[in-house]
């Protein structure tokens, strides 16, 4: 697939500035800073509870942050006057547990947001949805209900549903963690394909092999901050900080690297 952007201009797509978030007295984000450039794929790695998921939900405004700010395309989306629905329509987020709407067919799942949020006509939304399904090899599942699909198929439909609102940024929250190992591959392949089209992505993942080969940059989260970030070749082979080394050692021991 040829990238639609021949010479990608480098612009800041997303800036997270000293964000903090605590649930009761448990601090999850503690002055976190992060930038994502346009067409860049950044993988978030770190132990469970290191704040990866909270960060993604905060960016999607599903979780309000306590302090700091988040800037998308130069607009501070954490300002009180901002309409969260408009912000959310600019990005797609996909969760570990798929969360497809069980009472709707695949095509209805995909076309709901374009029609109701973007105001696209039903015919156009269906056409575009069918295109996406065909592109990712799911055309024959158009009229199925989610419960009749495998986990891998459900997750691919969930990603397509997020793509259908034509997001400028895609947030993926451990999208393969709930899948059988044999089904992980098809979802990762889809994400790789998206990278080739130039999609900007922020990906929380436990799949170190995937992060290593697909990410432009890997950010290791620890204690509510980006503890260390570097291109994968560097972070995985020559980590600078002891906590990163410890994390990678445990991952290696678990056989996941």
């Amino acid at each position: 697939m040829t990238p639609p952007y021949p010479t990608p201009p480098t612009t800041r797509k997303l800036v997270v500035e000293s964000c903090t978030k605590a649930f009761d007295d448990k601090v999850v984000l503690d002055g976190l800073d992060l930038q994502v450039d346009e067409h860049e794929v950044v993988c978030l790695v770190g132990a469970s509870g290191s704040g990866k998921s909270t960060l993604l939900k905060a960016i999607n405004l599903l979780v309000p942050i306590d302090s700091g700010r988040i800037v998308l395309d130069g607009e501070t989306i954490t300002d009180p006057g901002v309409n969260p629905n408009e912000v959310r329509a600019k990005m797609g987020i996909v969760f570990q547990s798929f969360n497809l709407f069980p009472h709707m067919t695949v095509i209805d799942n995909i076309t709901l947001a374009p029609r109701k949020v973007r105001g696209v006509s039903k015919r156009e939304a269906v056409e575009r949805g069918e295109e996406l399904l065909a592109r990712f090899g799911l055309a024959d599942k158009r009229n199925e209900y989610p419960e009749r699909l495998s986990g891998g198929q459900q997750q691919r439909v969930a990603i397509i549903r997020a793509l259908a609102i034509q997001p400028e940024l895609l947030l993926l929250d451990e999208v393969t963690s709930a899948l059988d190992p044999v089904l992980v591959g098809e979802v990762l392949a889809l994400i790789r394909e998206l990278k080739e089209t130039g999609m900007t992505m922020l990906v929380a993942t436990h799949e170190m092999g995937f992060a290593r080969e697909t990410a432009d940059r890997v950010a290791f989260l620890h204690a509510g901050r980006v503890w260390e970030e570097a291109p994968p070749s560097q972070l995985f082979t020559a980590p600078q900080r002891p906590e990163t080394r410890e994390f990678l050692r445990r991952i290696t021991e678990a056989g996941r690297l």
Partner: protein, 289 residues
């Protein structure tokens, strides 16, 4: 050796199965026979005890009088027909109104605080008042105010009281259904940019309603009988007609006529509710398995 053994192996495989099936059928047949005999004996004995008791002739004259039955039937039936119509009208209004109340109560965020509070106050208030009291207050009270532009028919206000009261309960049924939809459904709908109202309408309510259909049907059965409470306003529905007959003849058979009519409608609805609930439970088990 191979040739004769093949059919025998075949037989060997089939036999125990057929045998057990036959045994099961025999046991089933014997079970049905026992059930039939015990039922006949039990109810026969009960009936015999009643019919031979000293008080029976008097009971029969007062409650099961064939002549009174025939005489009261037309009036009670036409009154009951009014009950059915009032029930159907009220039910539709309740289903719609209760859903609106439940939606108001399910809205989140500080901006919706007044709407949420209004819904909670309405529900608490209405559920705290006996239905019969609400019917008396609205049915006699409002027409007595003689307000311009307001309907004066006690029946209108009686039905209004039923709708208000049942909506409060039904709103709570809907709300339980909305709460039973996993939080992740709300979150993923919002993440796509849908507003709260769109999330409720397209994602949460369709799933919620499916979850609470048995509870809603249960409310149907209840309302179908409670609608007759409007008789206190003098509306000539089934119970009122039966009462009029009794007041004239000092015979209570007309009440039995009314009871039979209510049963004819409510028993099928109750059976249907059970059947639907069971089917729904099986379907869910099949999905989760």
């Amino acid at each position: 050796m191979t040739w004769p053994s093949a059919p025998s192996a075949f037989k060997h495989r089939r036999d125990p199965e057929t045998g057990s099936r036959r045994r099961a059928r025999e046991e089933g047949a014997r079970g049905a026979l026992i059930a039939f005999i015990s039922t006949v004996v039990f109810f026969g004995a009960a009936l015999w005890a009643i019919l031979t008791s000293e008080a029976w002739p008097q009971v029969q004259r007062q409650f099961f009088n064939p002549q009174a039955f025939v005489e009261s039937w037309p009036a009670v039936l036409s009154g009951f027909w009014l009950d059915v119509r009032m029930f159907l009208g009220a039910e539709v209004l309740i289903l719609v109104f209760a859903l609106l109340v439940a939606m108001a109560r399910s809205l989140r965020g500080p901006a919706f605080f007044p709407i949420r509070t209004l819904a909670v106050v309405f529900i608490d208030f209405v559920r705290g008042i006996p239905l019969i009291l609400l019917i008396l207050i609205l049915g006699f009270g409002v027409p007595a105010l003689d307000l311009a532009g307001m309907p004066r028919s006690p029946m209108f206000w009686g039905i209004a009281a039923l709708v208000i009261s049942y909506s409060a309960y039904t709103a709570e049924v809907y709300r339980a259904g909305i709460d039973s939809v996993p939080e992740s459904q709300r979150m993923s709908a919002r993440s796509l940019g849908l507003t709260q109202m769109q999330t409720l309408r397209y994602v949460l309510i369709p799933q919620a309603v499916r979850n609470v259909i048995p509870a809603l049907l249960n409310g149907f059965v209840s309302l179908q009988k409670d609608v007759s409470l409007i008789f206190v306003l003098g509306v000539r529905e089934g119970v009122r007609e039966a009462q009029i007959f009794t007041a004239r003849t000092f015979n209570y058979t007309s009440y039995i006529v009314a009871a039979i009519l209510f049963l004819i409608v409510s028993i099928p609805v109750a059976r249907f509710t059970d059947w639907y609930t069971e089917r729904d439970r099986r379907r869910r088990q099949a999905i989760s398995a």
